[in-house]
Amino acid sequence: MRSFKRLTALGATVAILAAACGGTTVTAPPSAASSGDLGSPAAPASSQPSAAGGSAAPATVPPGGPVTIKWFCCLGTGDDPSQLPVEAKVVSDFNASHPNIHLVFDHAAYLGARDALSTELGSGNGPDIVGPVGVGGAEAFHGQWLDLAPYIAKNHYDLSQYSQGAVDFFKVGDEGQVGIPFAIYPSELYYQPDMFDEIGLKYPPAHYGDKYTMPDGSTVDWNYDTVRQIAMQLTFDKNGKDATQAGFDPNNIVQYGFEPQRDDLRGLGAYWGAGQLLGPDGKTVQIPAAWATAWKWVYNGIWTDHFIETNAVWNSQAFNAGGYTFNSGKVAMQENFLWNVCCVTEAGKNWNLAAIPANNGTVSAAFNADTFRILKTTKHPDEAFTVLTYLLGDASTQLLNSYSGFPARTSAQSGFYQQLSQQKDAKGKPIYPPNVNWQVATDGIQYADNPNFEAYMPGYNQSVDLLTKFLTRWTSTPGLNMDNEIATLQSQLQAIWDKSQ
């Protein structure tokens, strides 16, 4: 019995010691060895706020030690192996110049990032700052972002360095100014000039508003009817027949004429017209007419006219296995965002950019914008704002180059294309073709879809899942009645929204 008591006492002592040690760990100032730390510990350096929006930092370490700010990545870009060292250096540089703040980098791969952030938030271990994050990633956490307006005012942060439109893009009705512009990604039409030359077709127009010249010399509007006609001529089977010819074999296509941006049914529709699924009453699903037109056009392009890949082909190794199929070098035209320049180099040595076609006389180009956001749950909003302004300011060039992000800061825009044209591969050869018409991308900004296709809707993540399910169904299944399909999508979306409200 005595030994039992001794053992119990020993157990109790161990428990008390463990509790004591645990308490120390929690309350101790964060150290460089903490999990996810990519930066160095606080170094004796100072920095002053810069006119371009550089961060402010007190020169001394507060008595309680530096405040830890956790930066969560990657709800948008940022998880590529080539980007991680850049982010690590940014963290390291920040920590070296800001003794009062200890920045740690919390990285989750894009595909699991939403779940990872949800789990962190749910367990009360959420980050302070999140990014780069696009509208879709942010709307998955609707209502959880800090209104930056008071901090912008308090720190006299200069918003005039951005276009007013870009600033307003992050002004959300019931949430406030939830972001400051960082990187923008207008859309453009990527095309392969050699494929056009091969069959004597004129290139798509590089200027918005220009007409297209058909092979017979007639000029026509640059719209989706025109795209359909030339895309069919640019689609070839293994026997060399194009999609307009009798005997064309749709089961053995070796080159496709066109590829829509198929990441998201909403984005696909936004190239036909700006819109959103959320009705004016804030609870009813509405399908924008332009989107329905787009979905039917694409469906017919796949199953009737055969100039767009089926899901099976799109997922095949030969056509880039579910990646951006234009980059396989076997697709003549693709609508995509500017961030695709990261990977378009695989498409060959002679691609170029053209204007997005019009639908019913109106051009709409889906628009992406990434930034960093601060969560409402942060315990240190002032320090988080300092980090935010550092990422948008001092670190922005490094990060934007790494993310292939077009700077939202107007003064930095001209240098972006210049640095792209100067980029060289390991053998010292230029990465991008010399004659890429980058101006097309800049011109596309004025056609950005507004409202943005990724705008808030109830049950956001579940709704996105449903849209993806229908996208796969439509690109995998011939013979569907698209009117019925769209009606079914609408009713199923409504069921999700009703449940979530």
Binding site: D115, G122, G143, Q144, N315, S316, D465, S500
Partner: protein, 311 residues
Amino acid sequence: MTALPTGKRRRLAPLARREAKWGYFFLTPWIIGFLAFTLIPMIATLVFTFTNVTLTQDTPLRFVGLDNYANLVSDPATWASLGVTLKFAILALPVGVLAPFAVALLLSSRHLKGAGIFRILFFLPYVVPFVAGVLIWQSMLNTDSGWINEFLRWLGVSDPPNWLQDTAWVYPGLVLIGIWGIGGGIIVYLAGLRGIPSEYYDAAKIDGAGAWQTLRNVTIPMISPVIFYTLILGIVDVLQYFLVPLVLNQGTGEPGGATNFLNLYIYKNFFTYQNMSYGATLAWLLFGITLLITLVLFWSSRRWVYYAGER
């Protein structure tokens, strides 16, 4: 062992009391673990089902009665995911139960040379980390470059299946991946087969029984407890099928929702859709289904499972 007296409780002797205390002491870590990680979370999830808990809790926490259960009944995605699970079970369960049994029979055959080598070969995949195995299978089942389709093309199949991207072929594809892990089942069956007394086989031989009759009248009845055990585990596994679709498609349910298994839907409700209460309600649905099927199996086992030690 003496029978316990009825009525008045008997005081334990000092030695028995001391033993009981030590027993409880050594059981304490397990009891704490069970309470902290199983029982209390289970009770918590049951409580969640009557509330509106979300990960972010942007609306006030409140009691919602049976709302989550009503949602469950009217939610087409729940029944679709249950349908996906059942469709897969119909294909995967017979394979998961019969394939290891068949292999174990072959491995225990007296005519097989080098049985030990084969046992090792069949068991080896079982020790490969499962996620790594899934990724390897993903490459093997690749429509264009996977060696399974290369082999089918070599056989003359001009248009081999798009295993993991086609809603019709994805289940056979997943079953193929599942066969990778039957090593554990083979070992269990082998142990069962070796436990059958050889006298039964001798008697069957004397009675003139052939191979099929011996299998049907001796081997299967004698190994029926192992079949029962494997069946129960197989049903639990198939109802909780989760890891493979999560690794293959990052939980998107692709192609076209065909891999949106019930357990995956539960996970997504918890973490992706951040709706803890509804996720908990779905988890209790899964628990109820599993319990019901298991109880039915236990009830039916009296008719087809033979325990040699029972009277």
